[in-house]
Symmetry: C2
Amino acid sequence: MSGAIFTWIDGAAGDVVPVEDRGLQYGDGIFETILVRNGKARFLELHRDRMQRGLTRLGIRFEAHQELTTEITRAVSIAPPLAVLKIIITRGSAVQRGYAPAGNPLARRIVSLWRSAPVVQEREQGVSLQVARLRLAEMSPFAGIKHLNRLENVLAAAEILGSPSTFDCLMLDSVERVISGSSCNVFLVAQGELLTPPVNRNGVAGVMRAIVLREAQRLGCGAREHELTLPDVWRADAMFVTNARIGVVPVRHVREHAFVMNDFVTRLATHIETLDA
Amino acid sequence: MSGAIFTWIDGAAGDVVPVEDRGLQYGDGIFETILVRNGKARFLELHRDRMQRGLTRLGIRFEAHQELTTEITRAVSIAPPLAVLKIIITRGSAVQRGYAPAGNPLARRIVSLWRSAPVVQEREQGVSLQVARLRLAEMSPFAGIKHLNRLENVLAAAEILGSPSTFDCLMLDSVERVISGSSCNVFLVAQGELLTPPVNRNGVAGVMRAIVLREAQRLGCGAREHELTLPDVWRADAMFVTNARIGVVPVRHVREHAFVMNDFVTRLATHIETLDA
């Protein structure tokens, strides 16, 4: 893949995985995408916490915590000033055919480092979103987890491939709730507080989403989960999207609907950028 | 994996795939499991039709139809009397990080052949099922497709790992509809007809399920899709499970509830076993 600086698989440099890996066979695993900035993996403990929640929920036997820490440290030490660290943990190699994780396989870890571009123009000028035609499944038993079953995100993202000026698309569920972007969480500014959809039916509990909920309150602004629909979007004072790589990025358009830049969103974005984490 | 006779990856014998394969990264692909019996891949055209529907739905660029046919022919020619052919088609290698299938990658095909055991005792004596605690997501945009996002099946199957006398577990959705087993479709015999849950909200449109719907009617028995619940199960005259490998297998117990063997189910199972396909 263009941009990959290196990949370690179970601690060794490599570029292939066994075909019997359950990540490939069933999407049986989780991942994390961590921003590395100036020699520091940002919000690493929050990423590790989420990773552990996913592993626990999926019952994946991961014992290589020390090895992973060593690999992250090594990756960060050789990273350019701005990079993305992607960690995949799969349930490891299947010991026989079939869904059941027979033999309690040991997890496989894949650590890769990627160059990343600074998010400057997007943060200063805001971005445009479309609304995906795809509708998300509801009541996923793995809602909130950053697992490897990501076909919904892939097909939503594919809808805007031919539109380079579109940053991402909003994903709605089958009863038209707004859930998230394909690769980001979403927030509305409405009546002086921040609202973001719950992630208990579908969606991913983003690390940057958690940071925004926490830091907005530190800046004196209410911030909470709330079910949202497209009419809520049209009524909102402002909108922004978040993920670990981009931080906070204002939304200027959803379809033809225009938002103005919002002072609090700009302040929040800058505040989070400058956190020593 | 124990039991694999060989694996071909894009036409070459192999046991690894590139780490950037989108099947691993996102579960971005589909698969088929085909029974090979006495030198014949059973119901191959139905499997290929379903495979093509999945590829079309996911927008995967698969052009190697002729190569795949050659590989299937070659696999069948060296297969033992009873074997399973597993075909995975992924969207191929990611050309950059991110969900969007940028660069319209060419699909990767993974063809593997497995020894299989005859299903004799199960068909003669019936099997026991449990009810999974996991509840399936609803309104999946990929309902019916045999795609690689199979965490639900994995976690349901994991629930019965410690219970070797349990053949599979019933998977229900969040409003307690019965959908399928973790690796099979389910049918009830009720008031003289066969009923099986629709697969338009979740579940897989099994090839053997389609054959049962067709062949039951040929044998003079009504067979149709109908939403089912556990109370429907308790009220049913008989129950059976199906997939390409096992054909038709009677269910004797769901939890503590017992079914008697049913003459029509036995006749249907034998009829399908003896089809020249």
